[in-house]
């Protein structure tokens, strides 16, 4: 009798073991993607795909995971517990690709589909000749300004911005604030001067002469921008004490909650003393597919396509200020009428540069931030550049 009992147990184990191998043969399929983004927006994407594919029995679920980059690294090879695909920024693609956990996106989206996106958004997700990202929207830093506080016309040069800030500080107020020690937020000045954080050959650019020039000019803004920390500047702006702030679409909901009548200006509209314009980083947000999800290829391809329609892109722009990667959605009236989207599109067209997606970029944030802090505190720029360039080189060596 005891021996007989093993039969149903073995049958149960066999059935459950094979359960993961079903679905592509016509049965209902549930796809899961992870994200660390606005939950309402991600749930909207999931339901848009599910609605579009309900006749095919494909359900898409969005699961929020805090610290998604670490989670993806952890579950990158774990098909039982990991997602089928995930939503994230393009700059982490290189690291995942080196780990060998991503599938090339060309296996999931044909040339026509990928060709329907703005080239810059597809290129941003390319690493060592393979495209990994299915782009949905692009984002850049913009100048947010409080329409009730901003005095006079918006300057057209960075010197004008600096003069505005100095005047406002003299009056006891605050002009336009920025995290001037932060790599991402100081990048418009560095890139605008022709400098760089790291180049394609993974050489840090801290000691580059043009980087130093940009950092030195960025430092002139520091005395007019309080302590330049995220906590301080966001609070000053949200409390209606600062006239402007450098921020991106992720900050819009806080601004709305604070009841601020906010305007947006592209950083490409400010000319630097060298004749160029501010050049912020461009981030592209989209989907990347796990290599182990090969068994659900057809369903994933359909789900991705269902989320890359003009309707979805328009809704994302309208409700979440997302600048569409889909070229056909770029000119839709509801999209272009969104001031933030319009200014982001302008920045991307004029001067934004994609955030480097090579893995070495991941170790650049700390030495570059330390370099900026030193310069902003008035330390010798050449000495600081030499010191932190060496730190960056060491950090890159430590990766191997």
């Amino acid at each position: 009798m005891k021996r007989l009992a093993i039969i149903p147990i073995a049958a149960f184990l066999a059935a459950t073991a094979l359960a993961g191998c079903t679905t592509e043969q016509g049965g209902p399929t549930t796809l899961t993607f992870w994200h660390d983004n606005d939950e309402a927006m991600m749930n909207y994407l999931a339901s848009a795909a599910t609605d579009a594919l309900k006749d095919e029995g494909i359900t898409v679920e969005a699961v929020k995971k805090s610290g998604i980059q670490d989670q993806i690294k952890l579950y990158g090879n774990d098909s039982s517990n990991g997602p089928d695909f995930f939503f994230g920024a393009h700059d982490a693609i290189g690291a995942y690709a080196e780990m060998g956990i991503l599938a090339g996106i060309e296996g999931y989206a044909d040339a026509t589909t990928l060709g329907s996106f703005l080239d810059s958004t597809v290129d941003a997700g390319e690493y060592k000749g393979t495209k990994y990202l299915f782009p949905l929207y692009a984002e850049t830093n913009l100048l947010f300004y409080n329409k009730d506080l901003w005095k006079g016309e918006m300057p057209t040069t960075t010197d004008g911005l600096l003069a505005y800030n100095e005047a406002r500080v003299k009056e006891g107020g605050y002009g336009f604030l920025n995290q001037y020690n932060d790599t991402y937020n100081a990048a418009p000045w560095i890139n605008g001067y022709g400098g760089f954080v790291i180049n394609e050959e993974a050489t840090p650019g801290i000691s580059d002469a043009k980087t130093k020039e940009g950092a030195a000019y960025n430092a002139r803004f520091a005395p007019t921008m309080s302590d330049g920390t995220y906590d301080t500047i966001t609070n000053l702006f949200l409390e209606g004490k600062a006239d402007g702030i450098l921020a991106g679409p992720w900050f819009v909901s806080s601004v709305k909650d604070a009841g601020i009548d906010c305007g947006y200006v592209s950083l490409s509209r400010f000319e630097l003393p060298n004749g160029e314009v501010l050049s912020p980083y461009e981030g592209v947000q989209g989907f990347a597919v796990m290599k182990y999800a090969e068994g659900k290829k057809d369903a994933i391809s359909k789900a991705l396509k269902a989320m890359a329609t003009v309707e979805v892109a328009t809704d994302l722009a309208k409700n979440y200020n997302c600048t569409p990667a889909l070229e056909a959605a770029s000119d839709v009236a509801e999209v272009t009428s969104n001031e933030m989207v319009k200014e982001t599109q302008y920045t991307i067209a004029e001067s934004a540069v994609p955030t480097p997606n090579i893995p070495e970029m991941g170790v650049m944030w700390t030495p570059f931030t330390n370099f900026l802090t030193a310069v902003n505190k008035g330390e010798n720029i050449d000495e600081a550049a030499t010191k932190y360039q060496a730190d960056a080189v060491q950090a890159i060596e430590n990766m191997h």
Partner: protein, 305 residues
């Protein structure tokens, strides 16, 4: 024959003890020994971003690397950690001792109220406390330090942006977070001192200072020494204060402060070099284990004597 049977029963009885503790030993092995063993194993491999799943055994390469780079951040962070531990222990011991002695002043009526208030830093989750210090005290715009600077006619400043400023700020927060434990231990030890010793001292004409140094301190040292040792190890591997004040993602202050444990964290989660990071973690573990075993040996020896 009888004796042999008794011995056999005794041996069986003793062996059965191993059976009863086997489950808990297995649990300890799983949650303590296995992670340590696995970390040591990873430290002997080249597990990094480029060999995430196909890592190989490379011997002690990561250890040589950690020590061989004379100017490396590893050695400077090790030096800073030693300074950090010493500074913390001196301050924590002094603050705790002073507070514990004051709480035990004879006839002090507010003892329980003050003791409860002094325990407050222990009651608040450290994550919350540290962020409150960062924003409420150290922030150049909204913090108390900035207000004081402005009241004195100086420009507001952000202490967490300079190396030594961040060090002293972290030290202050860490002492604030750590003193309740040692203070409680010292208070308990002071309470346990036989009152007749104080009476005898008083009869001999000893005042407050004399009784403190000649009665209280010698009596509490053997009791609080193990807790001070534990506190020292906790300071050596302290992570959250330095990380949350200066290195938190999105809120890095650029101070460049790295203790050995934040350096291990950076190597693992920024450089993605788990092999090197595990080697650093193992070195930290070995240092602590070595110091602790020396102390435990001395304690045992003193106990026997």
């Amino acid at each position: 024959m009888k004796g042999t049977a008794r011995n056999e029963r005794k041996r069986r009885y003793e062996n059965s003890a191993y059976f009863y503790v086997a489950a808990i030993l297995l649990l300890v092995a799983l949650i303590v020994v296995f992670p340590i063993g696995y970390t040591v194993y990873i430290s002997l491999t080249n597990m990094n971003l480029y060999h995430w799943f196909d890592f190989e055994f490379i011997g002690i390469g990561n250890y040589i690397r950690a020590f061989s780079q004379a100017n490396s951040e590893f050695l400077s962070s090790l030096g800073l950690t030693i300074l950090w531990t010493i500074a913390n222990m001196v301050l924590i011991t002094l603050v705790s001792l002073v507070l514990a002695v004051l709480l035990n002043v004879k006839g002090f009526k507010g003892r329980n109220v003050y003791k409860t208030l002094l325990m407050f830093p222990w009651a608040v989750p450290s994550y919350v406390s540290i962020l409150l210090w960062r924003i409420g005290i150290f922030n150049g715009e909204f913090g108390l330090l900035g207000d004081i600077a402005r009241a004195l006619g100086s420009d507001s400043f952000y202490i967490l942006q300079s190396y030594w400023g961040a060090f002293f700020a972290s030290l202050l927060v860490n002492v604030w977070l750590s003193y309740p434990f040692t203070m409680t231990m010292m208070d308990g030890a002071l309470q346990s001192i036989d009152q007749s010793l104080y009476e005898a001292a008083r009869l001999d004409g000893a005042g407050f200072w004399r009784t403190t140094f000649n009665v209280s301190l010698p009596e509490i040292v053997p009791i609080v020494a193990p807790s001070l040792l534990m506190t020292a190890f906790m300071q050596f591997k302290q992570f959250d204060v330095v990380y949350l004040l200066t290195l938190q993602k999105g809120a890095q202050t650029g101070a460049g402060l790295q203790t050995i444990i934040t350096y291990a964290h950076t190597t693992a989660f920024e450089s993605n070099n788990y092999g090197l990071s595990s080697a650093i973690s193992t070195i930290i573990f070995m240092l602590i284990a070595l110091l602790f075993s020396r102390f435990a040996y001395r304690e045992a020896k003193e106990g026997r004597n």
